[in-house]
């Protein structure tokens, strides 16, 4: 009998033991894999450009308050003592005020910035003086003057997979002992003594729960919690509990207490920021207190320890008698989704998607968040206004077929993309109309025709008279007969009287097709193609005469890049969106610096710019001036056949902006560039340039100015009814005075 029972026992035990060993081995493999490799998927963070404050700036125009709030700084009515706080004090009865800001710490690609206290002295709204203060400094104490303050970049968004977990991994030796003690005392007082499970704690929790009649206390050790978070679900089942216990033993047997604690402090959950979970004590320290772990006070350490268990901060506050200031919690909403997509596409050329979403890279971009908001605001307002004004734009439209718009702004000198809005609603359509949409640019191409003429042949100037009479151009057994805008209108009943001849300036200012097309055919279409390519147009450009009127499809980004060369005196800066990519350990993986190259001599672009200033002052873009935009600027309207696309490309000496309005499907908008795209450009530019000092376009040394009679293009005399100060490349200026309005000459002619 015993023999039989023994046999049964053996029969059952052996497979059970083998099964148990296999199970333990499997769990060990799972644990080892997790512990030996990267333990967490860390999202990559995308930042805007940093922002500099210096004396002379207008704090309202630069939206200082909004910037600080977006960065999570908290306004305080008391003296500022902590990073991430600022205080505004008004001097009674005067126009003076002071802003005291305790700057946050920040890890820049090339330096670790340690936050300090700064004071901005402001008269009216202008910063007059910046000084660095020390804590506890009183009014009247000597101050250290500084010339510039840098506000850290704003977090635009994060790249992540699945759920979003914000985490900064930290080594155990970098965690303050006060914080470790707080965590251990709150979570697992006998952590250093037990082997993964703490029977005393389990028994204590059992009694407490029995007494309360519900679960009020847990008996899990730090090791158990780590195991649960790493490998198991949150379900309360017996099997899960068994696995948790087994795995805790395995972890304790294979890894030191330090390794377990380090994993725990990086894994533990600290709350939510919008859709992102805050994990690990380092991220929590920055999230709640805007400071690194090394700067936490005793009370702050205690509070972090308490948050893990959900203990109210007040209990700790009372115990430690130290007032606590928790940073205002700001959520991250991607305010530049199209720009981020553009950045992501660029990064994906070098980094696999998995790296972007799991390796905790930091991507520093060129975006100016204020300009981005201005651009988005201008686009939304303009499209709404257009829909209100023109009912046909809103009629019978299926979802996703609404009127669309796009805008890009960049620095012509550096190529830094400062704002990019690729559509009116990212949730509705992720198609980036700045970088992906190829559209006919229409008259936006005309400046390139004149630029080619000025570059190629000295006989052409802004005063050159060009025929405005219809003509037919034959090429490759085809004919082409360009029409003026007015001619097209005539077919619809308009009776505009057209001039037979116009100056190059007038043709450009008023965007007249025939003289431009004629000039292009005279200069050569192939040369026009070459010029456009030099300016940065990369899309295919068929060498056909209609190219002069913008028949080849290009992206708004290409147009912005090409117009930058005009603004920058013939020098091309490659558009840049990413400045640095920083790896998880702070190493710079990639650094992009400004790259500029002279592509054409500066005189011809200046002539074009000078004429395009006239577009805003007198021509098709004068709406910008009527709207109230007064800064020195040049620009060009663009409208394509059948009014499908409306464009405006324009620039001040320091900022280029391109706006587009239309439908995604080829559908008539029915509005010109001046009617639909110019308001968008103007709204943005008015905001973007309000804090900028007015600068004039640089006049190249080979440019001379002459007063000419606009009717003849010859030097004007006092007898001429009007006179215009025209720019010429040295040597091409007119030598003869106006014959029509000069009676002496007329007399001579009669005698002859």
């Amino acid at each position: 009998m015993y023999n039989r029972l023994f046999k049964i026992f053996i029969f059952l035990t052996i497979p059970l033991t083998i099964g148990f060993v296999i199970y333990i081995s499997t769990l060990t493999v799972i644990i080892t894999k997790k512990f030996s490799g990267p333990k967490w998927d860390i999202p990559s963070k995308v930042y805007s450009d940093s922002f500099q404050l210096y004396p002379g700036m207008d704090i309202f125009a630069l939206q200082l308050k909004e910037r600080l709030e977006r960065l999570g700084y908290q306004s305080s009515s008391e003296v500022v003592h902590h990073p991430g706080e600022y205080q505004v004090q008004h001097e009674n009865g005067s126009n003076q005020m002071t802003w005291t800001i305790y700057l946050n710490d920040f890890s820049y690609p090339l330096k670790n910035f340690s936050g300090f206290l700064v004071q901005l002295d402001i008269t009216d709204t202008t910063i007059t003086h910046i000084s660095k203060l020390s804590l506890g400094q009183k009014k009247g104490d000597p101050q250290e003057e500084i010339f510039l303050v840098e506000l850290e970049p704003e977090l635009i968004t994060e790249f992540f997979e699945g759920s979003r977990e914000d985490r900064q991994v930290v080594k155990l030796q970098d965690v303050p002992s006060n914080l470790l003690n707080a965590i251990i005392s709150v979570e697992d007082a006998r952590f250093l003594e037990h082997a993964g499970l703490d029977p005393r704690a389990i028994f204590r929790a059992f009694l407490a729960n029995l007494k309360a009649g519900t679960v009020v206390q847990g008996g899990s050790t730090i090791t158990q919690q780590l195991v649960k978070n790493f490998f198991l679900t949150q379900k309360r089942t017996l099997l899960r509990k068994l696995n948790e216990a087994l795995m805790s033993f395995i972890v304790e047997s294979r890894y030191s207490k330090d390794e377990i604690l380090e994993a725990y402090v990086n894994e533990v959950y600290f709350g939510q920021r919008g859709s992102a979970g805050i994990y690990g004590i380092s991220e929590a320290s920055r999230f709640y207190f805007s400071k690194p772990l090394s700067k936490l006070t005793l009370a702050e350490c205690a509070l972090l320890g308490g948050i893990i268990r959900g203990i109210l901060a007040g209990e700790y506050e009372g115990a430690l008698q130290e007032p606590l200031r928790v940073k205002k919690i700001s959520t991250i909403s991607n305010s530049a989704p199209y720009f981020v997509d553009f950045v992501r596409a660029e990064l994906l050329e070098k980094y696999p998607s998995k790296v972007l979403t799991t390796q905790g890279l930091k991507i520093f971009t060129t975006l100016d968040m204020s300009l981005q908001f201005f651009a988005d605001q201008a686009l939304q307002t303009t499209l709404k206004q257009l829909e209100l004004q023109w009912a046909n734009l809103k009629e019978d439209l299926a979802p996703g077929e609404r009127l669309q718009g796009a805008f890009i702004a960049l620095h012509p000198q550096t190529g830094f993309i400062r704002a990019l809005v690729g559509g009116r609603d990212y949730n509705e359509s992720q198609f980036n109309r700045i970088t992906q949409a190829r559209r006919q640019p229409g008259s936006l191409f005309k400046p390139f025709v004149y630029l080619t003429a000025f570059l190629e042949d000295k006989k052409y100037t802004l005063a050159t008279r060009l025929s405005n009479e219809p003509f037919t151009f034959t090429y490759d057994r085809q004919t082409w007969e360009p029409l003026n805008y007015e001619d097209k209108e005539k077919k619809e009943g308009s009776l505009t009287q057209e001039k037979k001849e116009v100056s190059a300036r007038e043709a450009l200012e008023k965007s007249i097709n025939i003289p431009t097309a004629r000039l292009a055919t005279e200069v050569g279409i192939k040369k026009l193609v070459k010029t456009a390519q030099k300016l940065g147009i990369q899309s295919p450009l068929p060498a056909v005469p209609s190219l002069s009127l913008g028949s080849a499809e290009v992206t708004p980004l290409e147009i912005a890049s090409a117009y930058s060369v005009l603004a920058n005196g013939g020098i091309r800066a490659l558009p840049i969106s990413i400045k640095h990519v920083v790896g998880p350990n702070g190493e710079i993986l990639e650094g992009k610096s400004i790259e500029i190259q002279k592509v054409i001599s500066p005189e011809a672009p200046f002539l074009v710019t000078y004429a395009l200033e006239g577009v805003l002052d007198r021509g098709t873009g004068r709406g910008a001036r009527l709207f109230g935009f007064g800064q020195t600027a040049a620009g060009k309207t663009g409208t394509t056949n059948e009014y499908v696309d409306s464009w405006f490309a324009g620039y001040t000496p320091d900022l280029v902006g391109v706006s587009w309005v239309g439908f995604d499907k080829e559908k008539k908008v029915g509005l010109t560039g001046a009617q639909a795209a110019l308001p968008l450009w103007t709204r943005f530019m008015m905001k973007a340039t309000q804090s900028k000092p007015e600068v004039d376009f640089l006049i190249p040394e080979n440019i001379v100015f002459q007063n000419i009679d606009p009717e003849t293009g010859e030097l004007s005399t006092s007898k001429c009814p009007s006179s215009f100060k025209e720019a010429f490349i040295k040597g091409t200026e007119p030598k003869t005075t106006c014959e029509i309005h000069n009676p002496k000459k007329k007399k001579k002619e009669k005698t002859n």
Binding site: D49, S50, Q52, Y54, P55, G56, M57, P109, L110, K111, F147, L148, E150, H411, P412, Q413, T414, F416, N568, G569, I571, K579, I588, G591, S593, I594, E595, I596, Q597, K598, P602, P653, D654, K692, P693, V695, L698, P700, E701
Partner: protein, 147 residues
């Protein structure tokens, strides 16, 4: 009359012995009137970058100069020192790109304009374009005979 001649002699003599400008001089000294606030801020950053270049910290210098250009995109000095940094890094083509902009913007700073042409000449020498190098040196000397 004698006193007048002595005065003229002394003042012209002083002018002769006036120390010539150097690329290490404070940049603000080259301005005849105080530049606008944003230019001043950009100049201060450029000065810091110049120190970093001297210390061989090119990356930090480039970052400072790019910040200077974000504040004042017309800061001619920032382009010059970006060019100098690129030159020292052996990127002569890139250096010449920056110098083209510097030459445009230095129209009222002959000393620096000449320096820009001179550095451009050195870049072309390194790029084995002797003809262009000599043309740049010639232009530099036309602007500043001390070069």
């Amino acid at each position: 009359m004698k006193i007048f001649f002595i005065f003229v002699f002394l003042t012209s003599g002083c002018a002769l012995f006036r120390p010539s400008a150097s690329i290490d001089d404070p940049l603000l000294n080259f301005y005849t009137k105080t530049p606008p606030a944003h230019t001043q801020a950009a100049l201060r950053l450029t000065e810091k970058a110049r120190e970093e270049i001297h210390l061989g910290k090119q990356s930090i210098a480039i970052e400072q100069l790019e910040k200077a250009l974000t504040i004042d995109p017309q800061c001619s000095f920032a382009y010059y020192f970006l060019a100098l940094s690129a030159h020292q890094n052996g990127d002569y083509k890139k250096s010449n790109g920056f110098l083209e902009k510097a030459k445009q913007l230095f129209s009222s700073f002959p000393f620096w304009r000449a320096q820009s042409y001179y550095l451009s000449g050195q870049n072309f020498e390194k790029l084995n374009n002797e003809k262009m190098a000599q043309a740049q040196f010639k232009k530099a000397r036309e602007i500043d005979s001390n070069l």
